[in-house]
């Protein structure tokens, strides 16, 4: 048997294999036979030393590692369904979502404004109280002056205490807003990646 005959028969015997693999395997045998011929072996002997076509084919098929089955393609149906549902439900879910966000934002903003308003009131009360203390003292109303000073000190103390709370709340609010912004931006970035 010539090399050409052997390789043709081998290729036919391996017709079940994917084309690329079949070609690679046939080329491998061609190289093996050529190397033997190059070493001085007559062509029929070189072919015979590789083995019979039938034997080679059955050995290849037996030794060939099982090709992993291609994972079933994800059907696009589910995804399309979700997109369709989102589009159709837009008039319902969008206003609800928007209302929710506006409500939460308004509540947080009110809390923020209230906290700072109270803080400023206490601070103003303290400053005003101290001022009034001096005015009352100058007009000879000592008892009222000291009563006002007491009030001013209490107001000042509360203002200082509340200042820490107001700063902490402001920081927390800022962090919350940043996190929400990052989350929304992240959603869009992920969508872009998915689209790539």
């Amino acid at each position: 048997m010539t090399k050409k005959e052997f390789l043709s028969a081998l290729s036919r015997g391996l017709s079940k294999l994917p084309r690329k693999e079949r070609e690679e395997r046939v080329n491998f045998y061609a190289e093996m036979i050529d190397d033997r011929i190059e070493e001085g072996m007559p062509e029929p002997d070189a072919v015979a030393s590789v083995g019979t076509v039938e034997g080679t084919v059955s050995q290849i098929l037996a030794e060939r590692p099982a090709v992993a089955e291609e994972p079933p393609r994800k059907s696009g149906g589910g995804r399309v369904g979700v997109i369709l549902l989102l589009l159709l439900g837009f008039p319902i879910w969008f206003p609800i979502l928007l209302t929710f966000f506006i409500t939460v934002a308004s509540l947080l903003f009110s809390l923020f404004v209230t906290l700072w308003a109270v803080e400023i009131s206490f601070a103003a009360g303290a400053v005003g109280g101290v001022g009034t203390f001096f005015v009352l003292l100058a007009t000879g109303q000592a008892a009222a002056a000291f009563f006002t000073l007491g009030g001013a000190l209490v107001s000042g103390g509360l203002a200082i205490l509340l200042l820490f709370g107001a700063i902490a709340a402001t920081k927390a609010l800022w962090r919350g807003i940043s996190a929400v912004c990052r989350m929304i931006a992240g959603l869009f970035r992920r969508k872009e990646k998915n689209n790539d």
């Binding site: 045998y29 093996m32 190397d35 083995g51």
Partner: protein, 105 residues
């Protein structure tokens, strides 16, 4: 011989055959012949497996007017060879124990 063990041994034999420099299919078979008979089909499967595992690289070069594939061991392949030598020491220890127990009976 257990198939898994045989497979591991064959892989290491092929790696050992290309340890000292790149080689090609027929030369690998010839070098291994005194120690182990290996068919072309088996060698092809092992070379593919080792290539897939990153233990060798393949290049195609022209030789005497035709193409020939050359196989070169990678660092990962050398690590596997070193691992095999260590594993084998352990196996030999167990073997000696087994043989000694067998001789006592």
């Amino acid at each position: 011989m257990d198939n898994q063990l045989k497979r591991g041994l064959l892989d290491v034999c092929v790696l050992a055959a290309i340890r000292d420099g790149e080689s090609y299919g027929y030369r690998i078979i010839k070098e291994m012949k005194p120690y182990l008979e290996m068919s072309e089909s088996t060698l092809y499967t092992i070379l593919k497996r080792l290539e897939g595992a990153g233990m060798l690289t393949v290049r195609t070069a022209e030789h005497d007017g035709r193409l020939r594939k050359y196989y070169r061991i990678t660092d990962r392949g050398r690590v596997r060879l070193a691992e095999f030598q260590e594993e084998w020491k352990e196996i030999m220890t167990v073997y000696r124990f087994v043989v000694r127990e067998g001789n006592k009976q």
